[in-house]
């Protein structure tokens, strides 16, 4: 029984990523979408937050949202997988339920 957590806001704007990671149990997956993708980038004040999460979670970021914001896959923290909307659907199929952190 594992959960997919989605986070759609930047860690600079809201505490949702922090709150999500505080509640996501080991083995659950995290997907960053919309403005949440900023949390997946290397070289920011919040990079350590997500890097730390990799120890217990599979972490994904929505590629189209990265590209829209002028970011490339190369800028994503190592270990975070880039997926498209099809991959997003696959993740929801793989995990028993989805929790949106808004």
């Amino acid at each position: 029984m594992s959960m997919l957590h989605t986070v759609n806001k930047s860690p600079f704007e809201r505490n949702t990523l922090v709150s999500c990671l505080g509640h996501a149990t080991a083995g659950s997956a995290i997907l960053l979408i919309e403005d949440g993708v900023y949390g997946a980038l290397e070289g920011t004040a919040h990079s350590d937050l997500l890097r730390g999460a990799l120890a217990e979670h599979s972490v994904y970021v929505l590629g189209p949202d990265l590209n829209a914001r002028g970011m490339t896959d190369a800028q994503v923290i190592e270990g975070v997988s880039v997926v498209d909307y099809g991959g997003f659907v696959d993740l929801t199929e793989k995990h028993e339920k989805v929790q949106a952190w808004l």
């Binding site: 989605t6 759609n8 806001k9 979408i33 919309e34 403005d35 189209p64 498209d84 909307y85 099809g86 997003f88 659907v89 696959d90 929801t92 199929e93 339920k97 989805v98 949106a100 808004l102």
Partner: protein, 130 residues
């Protein structure tokens, strides 16, 4: 798999309705069943017939209407949220004594029970909001 989607935000103001739409398309492309898309809070504004966005931009309400026409997707607007925000179908307009209605094709207005029912019937309920 049977999917339900909850859209909590209106078009353009937040990305939620765009992401929900792209996700819904991907659900259908993958051959899953899209049981219902339920619109709540400002999400009800996705169902307006009167939006006139700039020519070179996406027409969100129309995209949803086209999805309903092509796939029979059940687009449900919460009646309580719609009443608050002035989204009416013909029946509601008459009942409330308003001089017009503004619901877009393919959408229907119904109760919150439809959201709960989607939660019960679907394998996955995915929420898009702010």
């Amino acid at each position: 798999m049977k999917y339900g989607i909850l859209v909590n935000e209106g078009p353009y103001q937040h990305q939620a309705s765009d992401t929900a739409y792209q996700f819904a398309k991907a659900v259908l492309d993958k051959g899953h069943e899209l049981y219902r898309v339920f619109f709540y809070h400002d999400g009800v504004n996705n169902g307006t017939r009167f939006a006139v966005p700039p020519q070179d931009d996406r027409k969100i309400a129309e995209l949803w209407s086209q999805m309903a026409e092509a796939h029979g997707t059940d687009l449900v607007i919460c009646i309580a949220a719609a009443q608050r925000r002035g989204l009416l179908d013909e029946g509601e307009a008459k009942r409330q004594g308003k001089d017009g209605n503004n619901i877009a094709p393919g959408f229907r207005i119904s109760g919150l029970g439809q959201l709960i029912e989607a939660g019960i019937q679907c394998d996955r309920l995915v929420v898009f909001g702010d």
